[in-house]
Subunit: 179 residues, 2 copies
DNA sequence: TCTATATCTAAACGGTTGTTCAGATCAAAG
DNA sequence: CTTTGATCTGAACAACCGTTTAGATATAGA
């Protein structure tokens, strides 16, 4: 699974052969079929696993507090979690179209759950009067796109630590939905 | 080229065969080679063409004015331009890894030019005192990620017009880098 | 040590891949 | 009407695809 994830992230699902994955772990291609029914299931398991782990990790965060506090926690959590597993993020955002329709629907549903939490935080902030988003659904999509984009340029060896990145993005997110 | 762009956007570069592209335009696969040297060049021409057209269209916009005015123009331009050609945008952002190293470097350079303009607008705003971005480079990447993300959910048949989307995003962008 | 089970290899399956090429077909120019 | 050059077909090429399978090999329990 790790080898497949790495190769899918690097070259794309369609461009990676079962023989390449097998070679990466030192077996013949046929041996992989003792563990997975087919290539599509391999991709689906990786993506569903990533989304479920994301939701599970998110569920462990505190749920109470002000909308502003929850928004900050969401922002920092998202950046930290995504920067820690760039391959899984990359594959999960890029290979949606490689999923069969049924598998796509499942992953899409999980993603939707995640987006919905942010949307409800923004709605709560609106109700509180502490946040302002003209369209909470679109604001949620915009914030997530902004935050996830960090994985395209962040390099652990670069000039910024994860903490610093968190701070910069939180500053922007906070202001973007401020009253 | 149009057929290839459409298919690449839908299924991905690696997943589309020359025979599929040929069938889309009603010829045999071999006939395509009267116009392109190989499949890689086809992708490269599409991506380079998109980036060059983007830069050319951007270059026609007014360059003067306050940093705030230029930021608004950049924001609205980006959304309008990208929503008008979703396939080209999708392919150009998704298939970077399908490019040969030399071709990747070219496309990456063009993209960098585009990002640099936004970064310089933010720096000018900082100098003017009208904008505030803790790290202009990262703020530029964040804003572009947010704006480009619109192509993932926007549907022409949806509840919002392009003008409305522009307005919502400009509001968020403006606030995110406000003093 | 024998047996049962898990795991692997090596080969094969039918099908598809990007690309080439000889020859057919077409349109326009002389 | 003939010629030229562009364009296309249809077949072929070697290589690779995902997947299956028979049989070899390893592992662990009785």
């Amino acid at each position: 699974m790790e080898a497949a994830l790495r190769l899918f992230a690097r070259h794309g699902f369609a461009a990676v052969s079962m023989r390449q994955i097998a070679a990466e772990v030192g077996v013949q291609a046929g041996a992989l079929y003792n563990y997975i029914p087919d290539k599509q299931s391999l991709l689906f398991d990786l993506m569903r696993g990533h989304m479920e782990a994301l939701l599970a990790a998110r569920a462990e965060r505190p749920k109470g507090g002000s909308a502003l506090a929850r928004l900050e926690d969401f922002t920092r959590f998202h950046i930290r979690y995504h920067l820690a597993r760039p391959d899984a993020v990359f594959v999960s955002y890029m290979e949606l179209r490689s999923l069969s329709p049924e598998n796509f629907a499942v992953v899409e549903g999980l993603r939707r759950q995640y987006e919905d939490e942010l949307e409800s935080i923004l709605r709560a902030g609106e109700a509180e009067g502490s946040l302002s988003a003209a369209d909470p659904r679109i604001a949620a999509m915009a914030v997530i796109a902004m935050l996830t984009g960090v994985t395209t340029w962040y390099r652990a060896a670069g000039r910024l630590t994860v903490d610093q990145v968190e701070g910069i993005y939180w500053d922007m997110v906070r202001k973007s939905v401020s009253v």
